[in-house]
């Protein structure tokens, strides 16, 4: 087990190296560079830059160098922990994304916990009470949850709360705390705002997860080990929780891997609609303005999250399922 985890951890640096290449190629893929889109933006607002100025900037940012050299310069800086400076915001990237990253993690983690906490019990109850009112109710609920785009839910809720209660529910902070330094009051204010985006973001995932859990569990409920456990005299609830639920969770655990980065990228539209100070909208803006180092950093973070997520689900799966454990170590 430990050996297996160490093996996986040793692979991480190699994976990260490959990711930096992919991330760099991705952000270089659109035609032009930051300056072209910057000039276009300037032109759109009626001002312009002269040739010399542009060339000076291009040399300053190193955009005139070949791609390979640009890449290794970036990589070198990354290795020393320097994420670089955002061309668009003219501020160090670490400073720029630090706060947003925390909030994104908070929102993503909250959504994740919310999803599992709600979906798994619904799935279990639906499967064990198949074709009951409860089951039908949540089947309908889940269809609606899966079918409704989250940004739509967000818009509807925002409109309702504004129209009928006069409350603006966008953002994660009340106006007076938006730019305030972190304090207890600001944290409490955050928690007051955080639950709604969590519910909105989590609805879709909850519905999906509950459906999968129900289906997985239904498959397990007819297995002979259920009958055997009953024949042993186990109480129904205890045996359901010990055997089939455990086995039904296994395939779900392996989905945590891609669920983790999905929470971050998936929330871009909702975050934009609800004006959440998370990382999604920042990536969107960075991509539009071709702010390559910022976009690269964020994409890299996504990739790291995907790797961490996969690692977590692999470890969980090995821990949950001895059959896999034996295969891997033996």
């Amino acid at each position: 087990m430990l050996q297996y985890i160490i093996k996986r951890l040793l692979l991480l640096p190699l994976l990260l190296f490959i990711f930096t290449i992919i991330a760099f190629i991705l952000i270089q893929a659109p035609p032009g560079d930051f300056l072209t889109s910057y000039i276009a933006e300037l032109a759109a607002s009626g001002s312009s830059m002269d040739r010399a100025q542009i060339d000076a900037l291009r040399t300053l940012y190193g955009l005139d160098q070949p791609m390979v050299i640009q890449y290794f310069k970036w990589l070198g800086r990354l290795l020393t922990g320097d994420l670089g400076v955002s061309l668009d915001w003219q501020r160090p990237i670490s400073e720029l994304i630090g706060d947003r990253l925390t909030l994104t993690l908070l929102l993503g983690g909250g959504t994740f916990i919310f999803t599992w906490l709600i979906a798994i019990p619904i799935g279990i109850l639906s499967a064990t009470r198949k074709y009951s009112f409860f089951d039908y109710f949540f089947t309908v609920f889940n269809y609606i949850g899966v079918a409704t785009p989250t940004f739509m839910t967000a818009l509807v809720l925002m409109w309702i709360s504004f129209k009928y209660y006069g409350i603006n529910i966008s953002g994660l902070f009340s106006a007076e705390y938006v730019d305030a330094p972190w304090s207890l009051a600001r944290t409490l204010d955050l928690l007051k705002h955080l639950w709604l985006p969590i519910v909105i973001l989590g609805m879709d995932g909850t519905a999906r997860l509950a459906r999968v859990m129900r289906a997985n569990l239904l498959d397990e409920l007819n297995k002979p080990y259920m009958e055997m456990a009953r024949a042993k005299g186990m109480s129904e609830w205890r045996l359901v929780m010990k055997y089939p639920v455990r086995l039904a969770l296994n395939p779900l655990v392996s989905t945590i891997g891609w669920y983790l980065p999905l929470i971050f990228s998936g929330s871009v539209i909702v975050a934009t609609v609800m004006n959440l100070p998370t990382i999604g909208p920042m990536l969107l803006r960075a991509l539009i303005s071709q702010d390559m180092y910022l976009a690269g950093t964020i994409i890299l973070i996504y990739m790291v999250l995907a790797v961490i997520g996969t690692l977590i689900s692999d470890i969980l799966l090995v821990w949950l399922d001895p059959r896999i454990r034996m295969e891997k170590t033996g």
């Binding site: 297995k223 002979p224 080990y225 009958e227 055997m228 456990a229 009953r230 024949a231 042993k232 005299g233 186990m234 109480s235 129904e236 010990k242 055997y243 455990r246 086995l247 296994n250 949950l320 399922d321 001895p322 059959r323 034996m326």
Partner: protein, 343 residues
């Protein structure tokens, strides 16, 4: 061999179990009666789908929806205790759960599937022990090792740490039998325990069951479609067909004086030492009717060589005593006025 005269341990009377499906109601067990005495091995034989498993699941009260016991009684009486009708107990209630696994234990058909693949044998064995006995985990572990020794498990301590899929088929079934024995049940129910294992291992498992029965005097209900296995083990045989008991008699009567045409046909289809080499074995014509299109009257009449048109296809025969211990459910014997009708 005559049947013991003491009180039966288990007395099933007119048991009916049905499954209510969208396509119709399947009468899986239809008016089944039989007794099991302490220390006795009762074999229930029949083809697939004849209601053997449904019968023992009814006894264990683990018939799940959409199935249900619609009538009849299952009286269970531990020696020296009050008899209790299992049908009246709450299927998931405490009393039934105490009997299940404690007094009546199951040896399942496929030990591979009956063990959870993600829990160790020890975990599942200790759980079975602690469900019925107030002992600590360590004590339960000691009992578990003891039971595994009872079933001649090599290296019991190690097997507790194994997962079911790490053991061979025979050892798996041994572990299962060890688990069934964990609380010293007075009745063991073996549901085709030798079907999923090879012939050599089969013989070992049968030996083991025979030995255990002698040592602990536990009664066994043994379900199989294999008459050869029955011949080796059973004292009394119940022959079932499509949910009904065709014939019920001591082992010698079944093999030497079978009365019901179905029993006779079954026995003829087994090769014996006297069978001429390369001759075609007699088979029973036709196949078992589909449960939804079950014929009226005797369920066997359309395949029966002795069927009497006008009688067998209209009415269901009742069980008749052809001797003190042999019951036959056939009109051939009902027409004889001297035959005493069974209650």
């Amino acid at each position: 061999m005559t049947r013991p005269t003491d009180e039966p341990l288990l007395s099933v009377r007119n048991l009916k179990t049905e499954f209510v499906l969208d396509e119709g109601t399947v009468k899986a067990v239809d008016d089944v009666s039989f007794d099991v005495h302490p220390g006795e091995v009762v074999g229930i034989v029949g083809e697939s789908g004849c209601g053997k498993s449904a019968t023992i699941k009814s006894v264990l009260r683990i018939i799940e929806k959409p199935g249900r016991i619609s009538s009849g009684s299952i009286i269970f009486q531990k020696p020296g205790e009050q008899p209790v009708d299992l049908v009246t107990l709450d299927q998931r209630g405490k009393h039934m759960r105490a009997i299940r696994g404690g007094d009546i234990a199951l040896i399942p058909q496929e030990p591979m599937a009956a063990f959870s693949p993600v829990h160790t044998i020890g975990n599942q064995l200790i759980e079975a022990i602690r469900l019925h006995q107030k002992v600590s985990k360590q004590q339960a572990r000691d009992i578990a090792i003891e039971r595994l020794k009872d079933v001649s498990m090599p290296n019991p301590e190690q097997s507790l740490k194994n997962y079911s899929w790490e053991l061979s088929g025979g050892l798996r079934q041994r572990a299962m039998i060890g688990m069934a024995l964990s609380c010293r049940p007075s009745l063991l129910i073996a549901d085709e325990p030798t079907t999923a294992i090879d012939v050599t291992t089969q013989a070992q498992v049968l030996d083991l069951l025979r030995k255990l029965r002698q040592q602990h005097n536990s009664a066994i209900i043994f379900i199989t479609h294999d008459l050869g296995v029955i011949a080796q083990l059973a004292d009394h045989v119940v022959v079932m067909y499509l949910g009904r008991v065709m014939e019920s008699a001591p082992i010698d009567d079944i093999f030497h004086r079978p009365q019901h045409p179905y029993t006779q046909a079954l026995l003829q289809s087994i090769p014996t030492l006297k069978t001429v080499n390369r001759s075609v074995l007699p088979t029973i014509d036709g196949s078992i009717p589909h449960p939804f299109t079950r014929p009226a009257g005797c369920p066997f009449f359309n395949r029966c060589k002795d069927a009497m048109p006008g009688t067998c296809d209209r009415h269901a025969p009742e069980a008749v005593n052809v001797s003190a211990t042999q019951l036959v459910s056939c009109f051939k014997f009902q027409s004889d006025g001297s035959m005493e009708r069974h209650k």
